[in-house]
Amino acid sequence: MSVIVILLLPIVAALLVCIPWGKRWVPGVTVVSCLGNLILITRLARQVVMGRVPGDLLEPAWSKWIVVDGLSALILLLIALVGTTAAIYSVGYMAHENLTPKKLRLYHANYNLFIFSMLAIPVLAEPTLVWIVVELTTLCSALLVSFDNTREALEAAWKYVVLSLMGAGIALFGFMVLFAASHAGGGSAYTWAGLVTAAPKMPALPVQTAFLLILIGLGTKVGLVPMHTWLPDAHSQAPSPVCALLSGIETTSILYVILRLFPVVQAVPGAHADTWALVLGLISVGTAAFLLLQVKDYKRLFAFSTVEHMGIILTAIGLGASASDYGAMQQIVNHSVTKSFCFFAAGAALLVTGTREIAAVRGLIRRSPIAGAALIFGGLAISGAPPLAIFLSEFAILKAGLTQGQYVATGLLAIFVVVAFFGIMAHVNRMVFGAEPNGAPVQRHAGPHTAEAFRLPFSCRLALFLAAVPVLVLGVYVPKPLRDLMTLAAAAVTR
């Protein structure tokens, strides 16, 4: 029953937080349910790695709807991991927002429902159902984006909703065309596995059309470049723990749906999925790398870096070698853990300084050593500095690209990654170590804490520490079970 329990747990938690039982109850429930899910999902992932199918998935009544393979297990694991650290981070962060108890309950109910909607994406086997769940993620996260209820937050939420739903409409038509194609190819069941089986007999034009419609439609939610305009707004205006969820795992779990299509489209003669992925991916990386140089808001900085990393993953898939597929999986993992850490660090900086403006934050390391150190560590990690996780996966992708003989694409990717590195580091470096003009801290906004000796809440420090561990460890050592899981996941997107 493990998968069903995993899906039910956040719903139960969302109901439980509605009970007004004191201040500690509400965040406590969220943390416990996320932690419980992390344990259950780790167990599930271990079973998948060892090649055992969980008992309930053997029954045909369930296996028609719910399927867990390596790729699903990997995405589930990331959702649970980031969900847990963000839940811990929320405890202290939301306590500083001076919310009414009702508003706090609303936050946590939405948080749990959002986690549920993301967990449902990788386990559902039927594409139309997945589409409905993707729609649900928009529904559950929109109110989290607009949570601060300021003019900017509402604008960001509005753009997010309109563009996501627009994309959903296009993707819906794509899924219907895909069904028609699989029907024409004699496919019996409209599931991910059934599509792969029917693929060789499917007509090329509808499959290609469906792929493009879904790539554009869901690519909007992933933040691929021509459709990315909402992302920096929504990912910067939401409360920081929510930003970690949006940037760290929501984009990834939507990208998962696109990745599922690759084995199908590649099996159809005459449909070119790789080229589209490569082109769209490189455009995303390039645009984001240059936009990074001129941001004024440090949460937007990390949001643009999400666009960049989504582009890198798509490019890696587009390179089309099994080594680059593995690199893409590694990049998915590393991006999730690193980006969530970055937003925790950005949230800490926001708590300390009370402003999101890069120009207004100077010498952060002197005002709050923890926030300053976290921010510089996050900046180094996300831009791909050597001993840390992202360096390893970016290096793997570039190496795979060169071995594959894709010199132009790999060269461009390398240039963009370097540009992004300098863009991020220039901003972060100035914020953390820069001299304060006239010796006094610039204070444009009346921040919640102007005192010099501001201490971050314990739970924020704990979450920063917990989130930093995988960033450090995965840079030097990838445990064997995780390596096996990523290999399985890479196999799921390879033809």
């Binding site: 109110l143 627009m166 409409g169 029907h183 403006e357």
Partner: protein, 236 residues
């Protein structure tokens, strides 16, 4: 069913689809938010009619289901939910500062319909010879016109209807080629409109409280050049 009856059903379906496209043009041409909503309801009824006719023609129970769900959700529940969630003011609004004037917008919509024809016909033929009805090209045309409406409008209700029109177009094209998809299409039809209306209604209410206006499309303070300092500016 004899051939004459089949032919009649197909012709009726073509009529419903044609009127469906016409309502999309009407929505592009209307400034009054209320009129857009009424046209959208007519359009949803036509979608239901097309689904029912195709269901009859091909003997598919699921298409009857789609028709039924459409009849309940869009003309009844959508306006009801809209009244529940969003401020009454949105009905009374007019588009004042459209990006394009109406004749230009109509011309572009016409161009989109032509494009959709040239995209839709080969697509329908590639899926199978029996899909040569008007549904696929018209559905794509309405999908594109809906997306186009979204880019030129500023008022909350017009934007919302633009989205719903896009979904209607996707369904009109989808039900003709994916009529065996089964119960999930009904489920998608049912959830989709409600999700859109609910979440956008709630947001519009919050925006109206915050800024005193429902011209949500006019919100444009989040840009690279002017970062967080915007928060200090007085509301207009």
């Amino acid at each position: 069913m004899n051939d004459a009856a089949k032919q009649l059903l197909q012709n009726l379906n073509a009529l419903a689809s044609g009127l469906f496209l016409l309502t999309a043009f009407g929505i592009v041409a209307m400034r009054q938010a209320r009129a857009c909503l009424n046209l959208f309801i007519v359009q949803s009824l036509l979608l239901a009619a097309s689904a029912a006719l195709l269901g009859w023609r091909y003997g598919s129970d699921h298409l009857y289901g789609v028709a039924l769900v459409n009849l309940i959700s869009k003309p009844v529940i959508v306006p009801w939910l809209l009244r529940k969630t969003s401020p009454a003011e949105i009905y009374a609004r007019r588009e004042i500062d459209q990006v394009l004037n109406i004749p230009t917008a109509l011309l572009i919509a016409l161009a989109l319909a032509v494009v959709a024809y040239f995209v839709g016909i080969p697509l329908a033929n590639a899926v199978g010879p029996e899909f040569r009805g008007p549904n696929v090209p018209i559905g794509i045309a309405v999908l594109l016109i809906g997306a186009f409406t979204l880019t030129v409008r500023r008022e909350a209700l017009s934007l919302l209807i633009g989205l719903l029109v896009m979904e209607n177009g996707a369904f009109l094209a989808g039900i003709s080629i994916a009529r065996d998809l089964g119960m999930l299409v009904e489920l998608a039809v049912a959830t989709d409109g409600l999700v859109i209306v609910f979440i956008m209604g709630v947001l519009v209410r919050a925006v109206q409280k915050q800024t005193g206006s429902t011209a949500v499309g006019a919100l444009a303070s989040l840009k690279e050049t002017s970062a967080a300092s915007n928060a200090d500016e007085a509301l207009p």
